[in-house]
Subunit: 387 residues, 2 copies
Amino acid sequence: MKYSDLYKKTLLNDIIPFWENNSLDVENGGYLSCLDQNGKVFDTDKFMWLQGRQAWTFSMLYNEVEKNPKWLEIARSGIDFIRKYGMDEEGNFYFSVTKEGKPLVQPYNIFSDCFAAMAFAQYAKATGDREIRSLAKRTYHNILRKKDNSKGIYEKNTDIRPLKGFALPMILSNLVLELEDVLDKEEVERTIDYSIREVMEVFLQKDSGIIYEFVRPDGSLSDSFNGRLLNPGHGIEAMWFMIDIGARRNDQNLIEKATSTILNILEYSWDREYGGIYYFMDAQGKPLQQLEWDQKLWWVHLESLVALAKAYEHTGNKKIGEWYGKVHDYAWSRFPDPDNGEWFGYLNREGRPLLTLKGGKWKGCFHVPRAMFQCWKSFERIENNGK
Amino acid sequence: MKYSDLYKKTLLNDIIPFWENNSLDVENGGYLSCLDQNGKVFDTDKFMWLQGRQAWTFSMLYNEVEKNPKWLEIARSGIDFIRKYGMDEEGNFYFSVTKEGKPLVQPYNIFSDCFAAMAFAQYAKATGDREIRSLAKRTYHNILRKKDNSKGIYEKNTDIRPLKGFALPMILSNLVLELEDVLDKEEVERTIDYSIREVMEVFLQKDSGIIYEFVRPDGSLSDSFNGRLLNPGHGIEAMWFMIDIGARRNDQNLIEKATSTILNILEYSWDREYGGIYYFMDAQGKPLQQLEWDQKLWWVHLESLVALAKAYEHTGNKKIGEWYGKVHDYAWSRFPDPDNGEWFGYLNREGRPLLTLKGGKWKGCFHVPRAMFQCWKSFERIENNGK
């Protein structure tokens, strides 16, 4: 089977039906994301990250794959739930709520806001809904307003060792393209410039060619637990955001730099004993605080497949092709659950499922379908070009 | 070798020298707890939990083992550091500070206060220092004042699903005995009554005979991630606190109930495939949020050895004897590092070291020496009684 067909068929015949059949909360609206191996709901808490991500996914499918009214209706249910129950009075997004929408965990996490903004923008694109469009814009500006103190009153770190995180500039580089229809042109270009600079010049290290998760405000490195932390999946995911920006701007230099960074990170973080990409590493090889450091996570491997497919599409780099094969073989032989559908999320170092859930607090309807869609389209272009 | 000798020799010839040789910060005072496999300092952040715990350990050794002036001096260095740099203006203890004592992480975690209080009380007992004694008392009362909202402004949970945690009543049941010299007699007895009630009647479940980590304020169970959470090591550790209380009060019923609870928890949480006690479990067998759930931790196994030794000492229960043998064989063949000293902290499910550190953010000079001391003394009494 051609890769494009593999990804397309898996997306449309396995992944999407899994979420359509199992995750819809017909009583309260929104989605139930805590699904066990068989797709059965095992907990009803709603994590706002995952509400936003699933509403985004179904809006995106409607916009990019097929004008399927069922998909739009699924997206609408999530958008309505998020609007009604997702925000506090200042427009900050709760981390989690009960199935009925009562707030459980306060808005300490700005990524809830990021995924809500993405969802609003895709849904507005699908429907032309002006109110949702302006909500997307408002949410985006609230993110920018909060970005230098994103945890607000819940920040437990003092100002003795200020560090800035990679996650936010990385997300912004994708978010700004997602919100392109919603924002002013000048603002889009300015934010793209900012995120390229932060990602490729501040967090990407010139000497090692890998990306750190935290740096000092002036960009220098901090010899501390967070200052030594590497999150290889984050770095690789950010590189396909950079390739998208490079393709949009016809900036082949940016694409080449992102491509070599993908190779650097994979070389650094591949487990040579059991295969797969480590979840966390210490840049000096010191012991980590993260007990889950050696686990193999679904999103890390899916984002790597997307990054490798896009890098191959735009460069034809042979080493990228080889790495694609290696990551493909590892991931496709371990993560999918052919008996029950969808992918396992959490493998132990040896590559066996550590938790059998298909969705939970952090895993929802997002990385799997997005990667399937991105790889499908990328391989379609590669195959059509005969590369 | 007799068990009492094994524990005594390991404590005095391996564990204590390891911390004496590697962890003392002669420049700034206090202790460096981030020690790699060889005992080399790999990070200099100071976690207040571990400052308090190490100061407690050396004060306790001085009080209970030998009036060794070197041990008292090591304790003093930690006590001075904690007094100077450990507290904010209201007497709450920071979570971590730099090696020089500058606050890094705010006082969001009440267990820093608990271990500081324990350290102050043991040190006051060793030295007769009245100021430290009153500091112990003040810290204890501050803990009681905060106990129903222990995270204060850093609490991210709303009041929609109030749950109370097992950790605090469990710690209190040990803390109150530690502070017996410092507190009024009536307060000690009242707190013991309270903690027995909370531990043995509220968190210990009548039907299953196991202990839950969180319950509703009225003691009923909550079908939610935290409401289903089991922390077997916590439950077993609390049972030796109960046995200590039972021995102090000549309450054989309490000792028997604690003994059968140890058996229940071990039966429930023993990994029948690879051996060892799971770190976390879900009471309904559902997927957990804790990615580290199947790991085997040093403290869980050491606290189990203490609990089993004490239960055996006071009941002679044959099943307890069998379980002691099983946990002993598992733990003593995997956790100790004969080449470099001390015990590994974190094994993966299969029982191999997942991190090679001897000390870090959570592991310091506490569970290993305390368990060695407790097992030494317990087996000494068992062996002398010819049981």
